[in-house]
């Protein structure tokens, strides 16, 4: 069991506040990803949960017990670090059994648990090796093994894949997800990579500048982003944004052309930012005129860069493209795929239901 509740978490370094009151509820067994650009406070938040940073305000509770003042070892958590942090002078088996040794478990018990964890992670053949004799992916697995032998209430991962090459990263991503499905241990995972967040998470927490920007399932965030920031951060290539004004229920862009109907509760004459995803754009006979600036085929799909006025629009399509660079095309976006954001606050006018 391991539910985590964060209440109004604040953290300051001197006069600089880096976490401005974070509220978050994580259910037992949930895989939660904290995602955001560097400096958004996600790692600080994770380290605060681990007890490696002292919070300046608020409450952290695991299973309803407030643990603010407990030292890391008494919080019943395990953490996997970005650089693995394996003890270089200990073998794989010793690394994995270190916490059990500190907990004064019997050698037989330690051996049994280490062996069981090693089997899960396919490390049995490496138990007598030292960290320096392992590859990056193997080190990563040992770091996870060290976490799972303890059977903690919560796993914390701090950007665990960012030191691996692209191919290994994809592989370890699935391994971590499978491991979670098998162990069902509450997991909090920090990354700056939105693809990792989308593919692994039950729940994503998008952070920015020490605030929670939005919390939701991957598809909730993708389909109903609460702000321009979330809309642009989640999804690749990211959402297109154009300035528009609401006139008589229609969105009119700078060129005077109409993008589509206003979605959400927007009064006439209001300045908005219209957003739409690259894959939702359709080439059509009518619609907004644009010039094809770039065509990038990747095989399965093709990415087009369209120029209209001074805006660049990225579109992706699975259709084969007959146009060539320089051609004039027209495109449109289905009304239900249009997002309207307030031009000043950048908050969504379309998706008023902000989870939490």
């Amino acid at each position: 069991m391991g539910s985590v509740a964060l209440r109004n978490i604040r953290k300051s370094y001197g006069a600089v506040e880096v976490l401005h009151g974070i509220d978050l509820d994580i259910q037992d067994g949930e895989f939660t990803v904290l995602v955001g650009p560097s400096g958004c406070g996600k790692s600080t938040l994770l380290r605060s949960i681990a007890g490696l940073e002292t919070i300046s305000g608020g409450d952290i509770a695991i299973d309803d017990a407030v643990i603010n003042t407990l030292v890391p070892k008494d919080r019943d958590i395990a953490m996997v670090f970005q650089n693995y942090a394996l003890y270089p002078h200990m073998t794989v088996a010793k690394n994995m059994g270190f916490s059990l040794r500190l907990a004064r478990q019997s050698q037989a018990e330690i051996d049994r648990k280490v062996k069981a964890a090693a089997e899960i992670l396919d490390l049995t053949a490496l138990l007598d090796r030292y960290p320096r004799q392992l590859s990056g992916g193997q080190r990563q697995r040992v770091a996870m093994g060290r976490a799972i032998v303890r059977d903690p209430k919560v796993f914390l991962f701090d950007e665990p894949l960012s030191n691996l090459d692209a191919k290994l990263r994809v592989q370890m991503r699935s391994e971590i997800k499978e491991l979670h499905q098998r162990l069902k241990t509450t997991t909090i995972y920090v990354t700056h990579d939105q693809i990792e967040a989308m593919t692994m998470a039950d729940k994503i927490v998008v952070m920015r500048g020490g605030h929670v920007e939005q919390i939701g399932t991957p598809l909730e965030l993708y389909d109903t982003p609460a702000s321009v920031f979330v809309a642009g951060f989640i999804g690749s290539p990211s959402m297109n944004f154009v300035a528009a004004s609401a006139e008589g229920g229609m969105l009119r862009i700078a060129s005077g052309e109409v993008l589509g109907p206003v979605t959400g509760d927007v009064s006439s004459g209001r300045e908005v930012i219209a957003g739409f995803r690259p894959e939702d754009i359709r080439l059509s006979d009518t619609g907004i005129g644009a010039r094809v600036a770039l065509i990038e085929p990747t095989g399965a799909e093709t990415q087009l860069t369209l120029r209209t006025g001074d805006a660049s629009i990225i579109m992706t399509t699975r259709d084969r493209i007959t146009q060539s660079v320089g051609d004039t095309v027209h495109f449109s976006v289905p009304a239900d795929k249009l997002h309207c954001f307030d031009a000043a606050s950048e908050l969504s006018l379309t998706n008023r239901t902000r989870p939490q």
Partner: protein, 285 residues
């Protein structure tokens, strides 16, 4: 640089190194050979390089009371004193240097960098400038002519540098290793002893070697502070030959060899710790 000049450059460097080594080592070797010669052989002309009939008489004389004559000092006692002083002060320096080095490298406290810089400044004073004030001080607190006094004095002189070496090496050890240990259930002291210190072994050994060698071969302070014969150290013993047995170089050679032996052994043993990449594999790399 292509192959040819690089090889030539290497040969040139090796030759220079060889010449310097010969220049430095020859007197040492000459003294070593002298320890196996008789006094007659040492005095004869032309000079013989290798001992004609190698003998251990000089070594026997140093260690057997029956051979000791005149003011030839009690060498087993001298060696014992020097070992006591060097080992005790090395232990003190290691224990406090480690604790201080850990604090300087891991904890945040006001004035930390200033104090660490101050430690280095204390190294800039020439020992000679401190001889008299130190003598006055030690007399005042009744620690002149005392082995304990010398242990404390050497520890005080040695600590700043040892702290500096240990602190800089601890800084190289990733913080995450300790954090990981603390999450794994270690207290700060446990994480220091079980994770940090094993990784700092090369620095600890370097600091210990440095201090031991310095304490073992220190002469100036020992010679002004120690007065009674049963408190003297090997370096004083060596110096006393020069006054007493000017011509008996076989004794000087034998004593010098004995005094140099621990230092040579220490370097032979300690060398491998300089080259061992203990940190490899800890973090990405």
């Amino acid at each position: 640089m292509n192959e040819q000049p690089r090889t030539l450059y290497w040969i040139f460097l090796s030759l220079v190194g060889l010449v310097i080594s010969l220049y430095v080592l020859f007197p040492v070797f000459w003294l070593f050979l002298a320890s196996f010669k008789t006094q007659a052989e040492l005095a004869q002309l032309p000079i013989s390089f290798w001992p004609e009939a190698p003998t251990f008489d000089a070594y026997k004389a140093l260690f057997s009371p029956t051979h000791q004559k005149g003011q030839l000092l009690d060498w087993p006692q001298l060696i014992g004193n020097s070992f006591f002083i060097a080992v005790s002060s090395t232990i003190i320096v290691l224990v406090f240097g480690t604790l201080a080095g850990y604090a300087f490298s891991r904890l945040n406290f006001p004035g930390r960098d200033l104090i660490l810089g101050g430690l280095l400044i204390s190294r800039m004073f020439q020992g000679a400038a401190l001889l008299l004030p130190t003598y006055r001080l030690m007399s005042m607190i009744g620690l002149q002519d005392s082995l304990i006094g010398l242990v404390l004095l050497y520890s005080a002189f040695g600590l700043p540098f040892a702290t500096w070496i240990i602190a800089s090496s601890l800084r190289e050890i990733p913080r995450e290793l300790e954090e990981s240990a603390m999450i794994d259930g270690a207290s700060r002291l446990q994480s220091m002893v079980m994770v940090v210190l094993p990784l700092a072994t090369p620095a600890l050994i370097t600091a210990a070697m440095w201090h031991f060698v310095g304490a073992w071969s220190e002469f100036a302070f020992a010679s002004i502070l120690l007065e009674s014969n049963d408190h003297k150290t090997v370096t004083i013993g060596l110096a006393s030959f020069v006054e007493l047995f000017t011509l008996e170089f076989q004794y000087v050679g034998a004593a010098a060899t004995i005094v140099a032996l621990p230092i040579m052994l220490i370097f032979l043993f300690g060398q491998r710790y300089f080259t061992r990449g203990l940190l490899a594999g800890a973090v990405k790399g």
